[in-house]
């Protein structure tokens, strides 16, 4: 693991956890960093809604195939097991996991993944979701990676409380629901933008995110304004499509999954 990147990541994450920060964007940065730090190919952060259903709130890619892999796990899968038990769940070889998860394991393999690790997001007794890591190569995640991964999952949990009081589980529940609703706003905005500009969902999300950052607005606020019609978003220009240099908050995507 890149130790430099590790310490930079924690400084970056804790630095941004101040009043008024954008939780959704933060969780996206966190899942991106998880991929970079832990030797994963993809990552997703799932939160449980009042029905006990696990819903994606942030993922390292908005590719539909990846998001679907998270959605499948409402019936079965490592995330569900992890959430229910409040304990880490892993599969070093998804090819051998078909009996364990008859629907999820083959789907994950078809999407190009061979191994996975799920880490619980919990605050004291309450399990609120899971951080899900996927890898293209089989084999277990290293103990050091699992440890850092759990720390990142804990940071994600705490970020939902940010400047508010940490005593009260009420606060966590309030923020949880707000985050879940924010994700819905963003999905709606993705659809609207994708249809308007003729883009796929992944590109539409990237455009929303770039636009929000450039104007220093919360992603969900911008998405709401776009849907309400008070904000216009122009199509991607040639210069914006160039890779941005690495810097705070920027992420270099090394590969795009299908």
């Amino acid at each position: 693991m890149d130790r430099q990147l590790l310490s930079e990541t924690f400084v970056e994450l804790t630095d941004t956890m101040v009043a008024g920060f954008d939780v959704i964007d933060f969780l996206h940065v966190l899942t991106d960093r998880s991929v970079q730090l832990l030797g994963a190919s993809a990552a997703g952060l799932l939160l449980a809604d009042p029905r006990g259903e696990l819903r994606v709130v942030a993922a390292s890619s908005e590719a539909a195939r990846l998001l679907e892999l998270f959605q499948i796990q409402n019936d079965q899968g490592p995330c569900l097991d992890c959430f229910r038990a409040g304990q880490p769940v892993s599969a070093a070889d998804l090819g051998a996991a078909a009996q364990r998860w008859p629907r999820f394991a083959p789907a994950a393999q078809q999407a190009g993944f061979a191994a996975m690790q799920a880490l619980p997001m919990r605050l004291r007794e309450q399990v609120i979701g899971a951080l899900n890591l996927f890898r293209a190569d089989p084999g277990p995640f290293a103990p050091a990676d699992i440890q850092v991964g759990q720390a990142l999952a804990d940071v994600a949990t705490i970020s939902l409380l940010h400047e508010r009081s940490m005593r009260r589980s009420d606060t966590l529940n309030e923020q949880l629901q707000t985050a879940l609703n924010s994700r819905v706003i963003i999905e709606q905005a993705k659809g609207k933008l994708a249809e308007r500009l003729g883009l796929d969902m992944d590109l539409a999300f990237g455009l929303l995110r770039d636009y929000a950052r450039a104007r220093n607005r919360r992603l969900s606020d911008l998405a709401q304004a776009f849907i309400d019609g008070s904000e216009t978003i122009a199509g991607p220009t040639a210069s914006r499509q160039q890779q941005l240099p690495l810097g705070a908050g920027q992420v270099h995507r090394q590969s795009r999954s299908g």
Binding site: P50, R51, Q177, N181, V184, A223
Partner: protein, 251 residues
Amino acid sequence: MTASRPGRIWGLVAGQAASRGGRVSAADVCAAAVAAVGVTGAWLNAASGAEAGHLMWVTDQVSEQLAELQLTLGEGPGPDAAATAGPVLASDLSELETTSRWPAFAPAAREAGAAAIFAFPLRIGAIRAGVMGLYRDRSGPLSAFHLGDALIFADTATLLLLDSHDPAAADPAAGPGPGCQPAALTLHRAEIDQATGMLTEQLGTGIADAFVRLRAYAYANDLRLTDVARDIVARRLRLSPDLDPSRDGEA
């Protein structure tokens, strides 16, 4: 397993409607919620945008006072819930954190007889339908179980309010309407939200109308909402700005 909880909630709401001999409405959600989650009363504000909206239903006089106070003072759990799009759970109105947050409302609310207030925005992402408020005459948080139920009651109220704007749903001759299909939103799917967004462009409507049209199409064609949404996202299906939902779908 997960499908039974919304089913149970719907049963409670439908039971309320049956006991007064009427069609299921958001008022029944309020009454059922009060009985189910250990609170004293409820109110419901309907609002289709960022504005304050109008008081639509109350279960008792105290609820009415609380709703009016928040409107007059412009502060309180309800306005905060509408602004932040997340629930506001004030389990003790005499707590310092609460009295500093709502210096005018908190003491007035206590005087009116409330010790705890829980306000839930009625939203599906960017779609706003209003706010539902619950109060209790004793302080204390909602249990995790009751909170879960309250959130599902809120989702149910949202759907009923949206359907009440749909002319087809209001027409008794048209049949029960999509609002009577609680299974419609049992499982959350990102495709439903994406398809809703896409429809705002295809139909040239706002987000609430796009969602109503999406559900109406699924209902009129006896299809599952998730299947219709998937087809729209995959661009196998387009809806057109046509008055008759059963004629939509020429891709």
